[in-house]
Symmetry: C2
Subunit: 242 residues, 2 copies
């Protein structure tokens, strides 16, 4: 086994995205294509809230393990993006504008009471991965952001066109994300290409991105099972009114 | 908020089982009622293998946090039950007799390559719960065993009657479990009733059992989604031949 050249490693990472990123999941086709009921969109937003809320937690645990100031400083911008500079700012607050706009009670969303257990398990798996694996693998697991600008643009177009209960204002989260994701994923990709130089570390990096794709995919599998077909709601999970 | 009497706490725990134990899950109705294909039974056994394989890991992390010899000694019997006294003995080895009997390649099962990511996330959530929560909550999370003798007897009867590819020998795991589960759950229930005497600890104990029911339930949700309907297989998951 010989090491890949950095551009080969990048091509392999991009290939994982082309095959396994959750843009390909049937739930997203329904969501973006206008085939979801309002209740299904609510369930998606409510469950995805937990993912959003845990992002700065996983980023802080990553920063806590960085030995150098430059990487910590770079990664810190993610905390600012998600937690904001003041109350009511940042990505989590913008996500709550989406759940507000969908008519969900904010206290209920934040309480996580209606969360699908499978959502919690998948998101927590990501948080634990970042905390417990090597720094290189933790950084590589963020690389799904390489693929997010495309899905976000599809989502904004599709949802604005197809749902009368969605406005540009409720989608404010997504209008902010693409430049942040591009900056962040460029940094993470450079880091990975620079630091993964052996077959073993390159294998670990590719597996980390596959793992992260599995996390996002499993979240949509659980939504589909509970809210699309066969609509088996787990005990105590959010039950849409419509 | 006042504390429950120990027998009230037990009644509340048993009520959680009556409402949330995975015996009630639609997948188990199919499995025990003879409505599963061989491939679906294989998928169940292959995924459940990971749960079985991690049980002694979570039990060891529980023992590692016990301050007293008597509790450690009592809990140690679970390690013996699952890992056996010698190679080829114990619950994990008996589970592999089941996957063997179903025609699954043993190396493939043990490699976990075909595992549903959602199975991994749910099982790992249980392992992390036992490692990270209080000892009392860790012990309480084992109390699903209070309910397992009934499901095991339904399973053995139903599977032997309904599937020509299932024999008493392949089900050896289950014939051993009920007396072990009864002994273990009696100890854990006594422990919980003795040590959870405040409203806060009683609430934590009840939540721990609900959490564990969620773990088992989410595993079956994922199986249902991938192998029953709509049969959306996640990338790289086990694909049955029939």
């Amino acid at each position: 086994m010989t090491a890949l050249r950095p551009e080969e490693l990048e091509a392999r990472l991009r290939d994982i995205g082309a095959r396994r990123y959750h843009r390909l999941h049937p739930f997203h086709k329904l969501l973006h294509g206008g085939a979801c009921s309002k209740g299904q969109v609510q369930a998606w937003a409510l469950n995805r809230y937990y993912y959003q809320a845990m992002i700065p937690v996983k980023d802080a645990s990553l920063i806590a393990r960085c030995p150098d100031s430059a990487t910590r400083r770079e990664w810190r911008s993610r905390l600012v993006d998600h937690d904001g500079a003041h109350d009511g700012e940042g990505g989590i607050a913008r996500w709550l504008k989406l759940t507000d706009g969908l008519g969900l009670d904010r206290d209920y969303v934040v309480s996580l009471q209606g969360l699908l257990p499978a959502t919690r398990f998948a998101v927590d798996a990501y948080v634990h991965f970042v905390r417990d694996k090597t720094l290189l693998e933790a950084i590589a697991s963020s690389l799904t952001e390489l693929f997010s600008p495309v899905i976000i643009s599809e989502r904004m177009d599709g949802m604005l066109k197809n749902y009368d209960f969605i406005t540009a204002e409720t989608l404010a989260y997504f209008s902010q994300r693409p430049p942040q994701a591009e900056r962040d994923s460029r940094f993470a990709l450079d880091y990975v290409k620079t630091h993964a130089r052996t077959p073993e570390t390159q294998h670990a990096v590719l597996a980390a991105l596959e793992f992260k794709c599995d996390v996002l995919w499993a979240m949509l599998d659980a939504l589909y099972h509970a809210y699309v077909a066969p609509k088996h709601l787990p005990p105590d999970a959010f039950a849409p009114a419509e």
